[in-house]
Amino acid sequence: MSQLSRARRRISPNRVNLSVRIGTLELRNPILTASGTFGYGDEYAHVVDLATIGGVVTKTVTVKPRAGNAPTRVAETPAGMLNSIGLENVGLERFRDEKLPRLRKLKATVIASVGGETPEELETLLRALGAEEGVGAFEVNFSCPNVAAGGARFWADPARLERTLAMLKQLTSKPLIAKLSPDVTDIRETARACERGGADALTAVNTFVGMAIDLDQMRSRLGKATGGLSGPAIKPLALARCWEASHAVRIPVLGSGGIASGRDALEFLAAGATAVQVGTATFVEPEASTRVLDEMREWLAANGHERVTELIGAFSAEHAQEHTPRTTS
């Protein structure tokens, strides 16, 4: 990487072409917000210029409204946070009637996140939303760690993923992005299954299942025993999963997990991601996504890269022979 960068001379940041492509969807740059960390887009619109970032992935919508889990829903752990929200959302009907009209007014590329406990529920969602204006792509949440049914464990079955995506593919002409759980023996298997099923892209990864115990009360620091861990604590773990996934498939991968700086984002690109999602960092700093974008552009300019696509997979290109990605030994 250092050889690659030192060989170039600094260029003006304005000259850096940041656009990337996810299936048929062109993004003005590779920085998106992660589902569940940016609401339905308009909550942060007064502090973040949505026209500058690559896109907004909305809070996961399910067929029926979900009230979410009982408290406690969040707990901070070293360099990270556990959450057990439980997919609280307004449900399909209100998403379509109330949220979508607002989303269409945003100057943002919108990726709608959909979640289902069964393939049939996802079918219902895609039949209802598949042709809606104002949605650039769908991210299918196959990896929520906090729901009793239809969560990460249910969807960790490669055959089920493949069948479901093949069915969903018939219901929309928009790109389908499959969001994967990191808590599998080999993410390459779920990644390949999604590709075979017709997914246009993958997101790697959702939160890691984690827990924290209050010893004084001998109970979980969450309402449930476990939650999903996010934040800087998971970045090295997520990066490895993203690397493995992106080298197992030909479709683009969106990297996600602990990204809080331009350099973090570039590491995911170097590992093979085409775009990245900023999540927990937004809770700390509402404008994190635009800062990450500025830092990324600045690094690319300082290192003479005219196109961000030059970075995609740059690490693996140099080290292809050195490593064979493995999650188990």
Partner: protein
């Protein structure tokens, strides 16, 4: 009610003053740049330490005073350094910078007609010091009930007393162990005080959730209104992460369901209110006090 216009923002603030405020507590006064909306009593902000901070997330903190200084604001906080975040905060020297997000949430409706009764439990006194300031500026008399388990938990009592005296509030102290003021709790003080006051009473309270539940029940059975400032673990503080649920009452649940059925109304979750955006101040009838933790 239409969706609120969002006015919060994140800014860099500087420490103007940082000192002990009674044993075990600190007063933090921040210099806040122009453009930050003035918080009202009961609202909160998120305080985020600069890198390297021992904690990741910002910490929600109730505002204890606001003064305008030209276009800038001076915003005061009363807190106890008890966790990793507040301990690191307590080490900030004058002139140090930190990030401030706010103002957040809904504060006390101090303009509500009636006789204002402010009820504080322990360090819950913070937003009520500010409420007393606001009422005094509006030339409204108020009763100030300040309770704690024991005398030394009447946070910064001497300072609070001096400040409240200036504002003309009548102070009523109570301790569970009788080491200061009335020997009993704040609800017993309300029982004794209420017959002497002109109704309707409007209570504004902050303190431990057990105390707030007792005050809420007292208000509901005595024909008073009560506005209770709640606490919760939070991540974003802005309504996005859905991380700070409080159980709605049956009455509130039915109302939210009915409002949600009207296409134009963008109301929240019928089962759970979010402490950060639906609160942190709730009227007594909004929450299911049997299920509040």
């Amino acid at each position: 009610m239409p969706a609120a216009v969002r006015t919060w923002k994140q800014v860099v603030a500087h420490v103007r003053e940082h000192r002990a405020y009674g044993p075990g507590f600190r007063w933090l006064e921040l210099d806040v740049p122009a453009g930050f909306a003035a918080p009202v009593a009961g609202q909160f902000v998120q305080l985020l330490l600069d890198f390297p901070s021992p904690v990741l997330l910002p910490r929600p903190m109730s505002v204890a005073s606001v003064a305008k200084r030209g276009a800038r604001l001076s915003v005061g906080f009363l807190y106890a350094p008890v966790g990793a975040g507040t301990r690191a905060l307590s080490e900030l020297a004058e002139g140090a910078s930190l990030h401030l997000t706010g103002p957040l949430g809904r504060g006390y409706p101090l303009e509500e007609p009636g006789t204002p009764v402010l009820v504080a439990g322990g360090r819950g006194v913070a937003p009520l010091l500010m409420a007393a300031d606001v009422l005094a500026r509006a030339r409204r008399r108020c009763e100030f009930v300040f309770g704690a388990r024991t005398a030394k938990l009447l946070v910064g009592l001497d300072e609070a007393r001096a400040r409240l005296a200036k504002r003309g509030s009548k102070l009523h102290l109570a301790t569970d162990d009788g080491t200061r003021g009335f020997h009993g709790n704040v609800v017993q003080v309300l029982d004794r005080l209420a017959p002497r006051l002109e109704g309707p009473l409007v209570i504004h309270a902050c303190g431990p959730h057990g105390m707030l539940g007792a005050v809420a029940r007292w208000a509901m059975s005595n024909g008073a209104r009560a506005h209770l400032a709640m606490e919760s673990v939070m991540a974003c503080g802005t309504g996005v992460c859905r991380g700070c649920p409080l159980p709605r009452s049956t009455e509130a649940r039915d109302r939210v369901r009915a409002e949600g059925a009207q296409a134009a109304a963008l109301k929240g979750n019928p089962d759970w209110a979010m402490c950060c955006t639906d609160g942190p101040v709730f009227e007594s009838r909004e929450l299911d006090w049997d299920r509040v933790e």
